[in-house]
């Protein structure tokens, strides 16, 4: 089996690429996609640790996988809410630029 650290490094690297996307991009759509990227990076680590501790874990044999399923549900809800907020912003200002949200500044 491939080694545990290599999967963890991969997960960390994907998470950091997602962080870069959230920080650097101005397009709300791409920022939302980068968020999905970060959630997936965390999911990889969760499944890996769930697999490593499959035996004798208080969370049960599939604890990590069930946690991941919950993250999947949260990601779906987040995508639905985020995209409908994006639609509202688009109708209001005809823009998907994050900087237009500065106008919310009272």
């Amino acid at each position: 089996m491939f080694s545990l650290p290599s999967i963890l490094y991969l997960s960390a690297l994907l998470f950091c690429i997602g962080t870069y996307g959230v920080l650097a991009r101005r397009n709300i759509l791409i920022v939302l996609m980068s968020l999905e990227l970060m959630l997936n990076a965390v999911n990889i680590a969760l499944v890996t640790f769930g697999r490593v501790h499959a035996l004798g874990s208080p969370a049960g044999e599939h604890g990590g996988q069930i946690f991941t399923l919950m993250v999947l549900a949260v990601a779906a809800a987040e995508a639905a809410i985020g995209l409908s907020l994006l639609l509202v912003i688009w109708r209001r200002w005809q823009s998907i630029d994050l900087r237009t949200l500065c106008r919310l500044n009272g």
Partner: protein, 197 residues
């Protein structure tokens, strides 16, 4: 079951594909390309789940992400139809370098933590991930997964269904077109603009 060297090969291929496609997701200018590369990335994550004996979860990942969430993204992209003219201007090279620096710092912190973790070291000397023979053959199958989900984690499951319900109601409420209030808002805004002028 795959032989060890084949498993290594599949893992290496999938890892490289995941990193390249996620880099493309965050660097493409047109969101359509980002969405398509994100689908590739999600598929590689699904393969990784299957390598980790989470077969059912791997299929769920494909169904929920590539099948549902990404279709939602593509619908929204088609709805607002971003063209070269109305894509937002990206930040300057300085701002991108700052974001890259923060991400690099975060990665070095995480890598430091992983390379110095006693727990990871202990598990690695034990042979990394326990061999498949040590866990029941049904591990990760839909029957074993479902039995555990509905026996030990039923409350979590029900709370998740409430979360999804709230998500649906919120999305419908936000995306609903309210003609009268929108008109009022627009008139109000136009009035404000002319008052400013």
């Amino acid at each position: 079951m795959l032989s060890p060297w084949l498993e290594h090969l599949v893992f290496a291929t999938v890892a490289v594909a995941a990193v390249i496609s996620s880099l493309l997701v965050v660097t493409r200018r047109n969101p359509i390309y980002s969405a398509l590369f994100l689908i590739v990335m999600l598929a590689t994550v699904s393969v990784m789940f299957m390598l980790l004996d989470a077969t059912f979860l791997g299929f769920m990942q494909l169904l929920v992400y590539a099948g549902a969430i990404m279709v939602l993204y593509l619908f929204v992209i088609m709805l607002i139809n971003p063209r070269e003219g109305n894509l937002p201007a990206e930040g300057s090279a300085m701002e991108n370098a700052f974001a890259g620096g923060v991400a690099l710092l975060l990665f070095s912190l995480l890598a430091f933590a992983i390379s110095n973790s006693e727990e990871v070291k202990r598990l690695t000397t034990d042979g990394g991930i326990p061999a498949l023979a040590e866990i029941p053959l049904s591990h990760g199958s839909i029957a074993a997964f479902g039995l555990e989900l509905f026996h030990n984690h039923l409350l979590v499951f029900e709370v998740t269904s409430i979360l999804i319900l709230v998500g649906i109601i919120g999305a419908v409420h936000l995306a609903m077109r309210r003609k009268s209030s929108e008109k009022n808002l627009q008139q109000h805004e136009e009035g404000a603009v002319t008052a400013d002028v």
